[in-house]
Amino acid sequence: MSIAPAEFETRPERRSEDYLWTLNFGPQHPATHTTLRLVLKLEGERVVDAMPEMGYLHSGFEKIGEHLTFNQYVTVTDRMNYISPMANNVAWHQAVEKLLGIELTPRCTYIRTIIAELARISDHLLCNGAVGLDTGAFTFFLYAFYQREVIYDIFETLCGARFTNSYTRVGGVSQDITPLVIEKIRGFLKTFPKTLDDMERLLNRNRIFVDRTKGVGLLTKAEAINRGATGPVARASGVTRDLRRDEPYLAYADLDFQVCCAAAGDCYARYLVRMQEMRESLKIVEQALENLPEGPVNVGIDQRTALPTKQQVYSTIEGTISHFELSMSNRGFEVPCEESYAAIEAPNGELGFYIVGDGEDAAYRARCRPPSVLHFALFPHLIRGHTLSDIVAVLGSLNIIAAELDR
């Protein structure tokens, strides 16, 4: 007796996919750090495919941007990348000032440069710390987080808020930098390099860490450009693009620093680039502090673009008038019916705002170009073929912040 071949063919075919196992990772999982979800297809421990899903933290920030004035919206930008809110503040008001055609005072550009670089350090500390934490290096995380605390203290002394700073204003900043803040920053500049040395000694040649990150999540240069990667993720793949050097904004043209790159394109390279960038940021902050120009911090009140200080409001008639006019909906900024895009090199990558003005004090459209979206889209490409335990290393090295991802 033989089974007819035709009978074989009618049986449902056994596909190789039948052996795959589907695992839901997130949106509530300690290793995602924020609310994002991955649906993984596993073959044993190996990831065959990953489907990232986002939107759990979508709060309509861009819609809100069409209803809040240019000065009010800075509070919302704080909540985008809440790991480095100062960088978001700087990015938002840089875009607004470009649209409005406001020229900042030299002192203001230096102050913004200093806080943007401190924000970069705190962001890189958290990102690298989290990579360490997820791959088992808990001590490293504590070293990193302690230093973040120091930067929080500096920001608190500077503007009164630790976490959601809302420090910048159209045409200036909310408070001038005080000698106490400068002293604290100098203290940080003195102590932080030692901590960085310690951190590098902890992980750079740590066998477990290197084994878990080297060769994991490879991104080639061509793929990095094609998939829109920016910032440390792109620079770790050999893309030498850094907006601080390529399109010098604020005071970066006057300062001396290196663009940190690596060629390997794996998680370890991204870690190294971030570590090195912190040292460069220290150099930038140090130079900016040394050369901090004297003079007014905000654009003059005669130009009716920056809110005057309380001192000016209460003691001069020009200040009172300027304050009133800027607070009135029909007398505020002169906004052209035009649109412009301005971007900064945020810690995560290119963070830009495309603002459409229609003559009102609020933007007609406030598009935020978040680096996290494009980096999260990279994830399936990076993780295919790696094991389940590599997910946390890859996810951590991309530094995805869900609040910025979903907006």
Binding site: E247, S340, R365
Partner: protein, 175 residues
């Protein structure tokens, strides 16, 4: 002092790219605002012109987004897509605008050219309801699939249309 990259000094000025586009596709509306070169591209030229730009060195698609010009003073079209291009070697930027209108706002997808366009176009579809033909996976990106509106359109109210209150609550028994 930071040095500009070598390629920047060699590459052609940014409006030469616009001239190259005009050679291929006829006269195009273009303007400069705050040193930003912008060019308006008719929707029918969309994928071909972007391929030309990509060949001319604009290898990085920075952003794809959209503006709803409903009630905007002097606007001739309802939706204006924004494509921000940059060249990583030549250090140049170009803003390309493509305008589309109701009732069927459709434009060709750039996903075959740049992988970066994949999610960015999904976001535009999600929030503006613009269809991208040739997109490999045009699903909503940030909102749930069951959502029916496109909330960044200007005729959608800031407070929403009650979606928050009518959101289905999934219990453990009915998940």
């Amino acid at each position: 002092m930071p040095q500009p990259s070598d390629a920047a000094s060699e590459s052609a000025p940014v409006n030469s790219h616009v001239a190259a586009l005009e050679d291929a596709f006829g006269p195009l509306e273009n303007s400069v605002f705050r040193d930003q070169q912008r060019v308006v591209l008719p929707a029918e030229h969309s994928p071909a012109a972007f391929a030309v730009l990509k060949d001319r060195g604009f290898d990085l698609l920075v952003d794809v987004s959209c503006v709803d010009y409903l009630e905007y003073r002097g606007a001739k079209h309802r939706y204006g897509l924004i494509y921000l291009l940059a060249s990583t070697a030549g250090n140049q930027r170009l803003t390309v605008r493509v305008f589309v209108d109701d009732p069927d706002p459709t434009v060709a997808s750039l996903a075959p050219l740049w992988e970066a366009a994949n999610w960015l176009e999904r976001e535009v579809w999600d929030l503006f309801g613009i269809r991208f033909t040739g997109h490999p996976d045009l699903r909503r990106l940030v909102l749930p699939e069951a959502f029916t509106a496109h909330p960044l359109r200007k005729d959608y109210p800031l407070q929403g249309r009650g979606e928050r209150h009518n959101f289905p609550v999934i219990t453990r028994d009915h998940s």
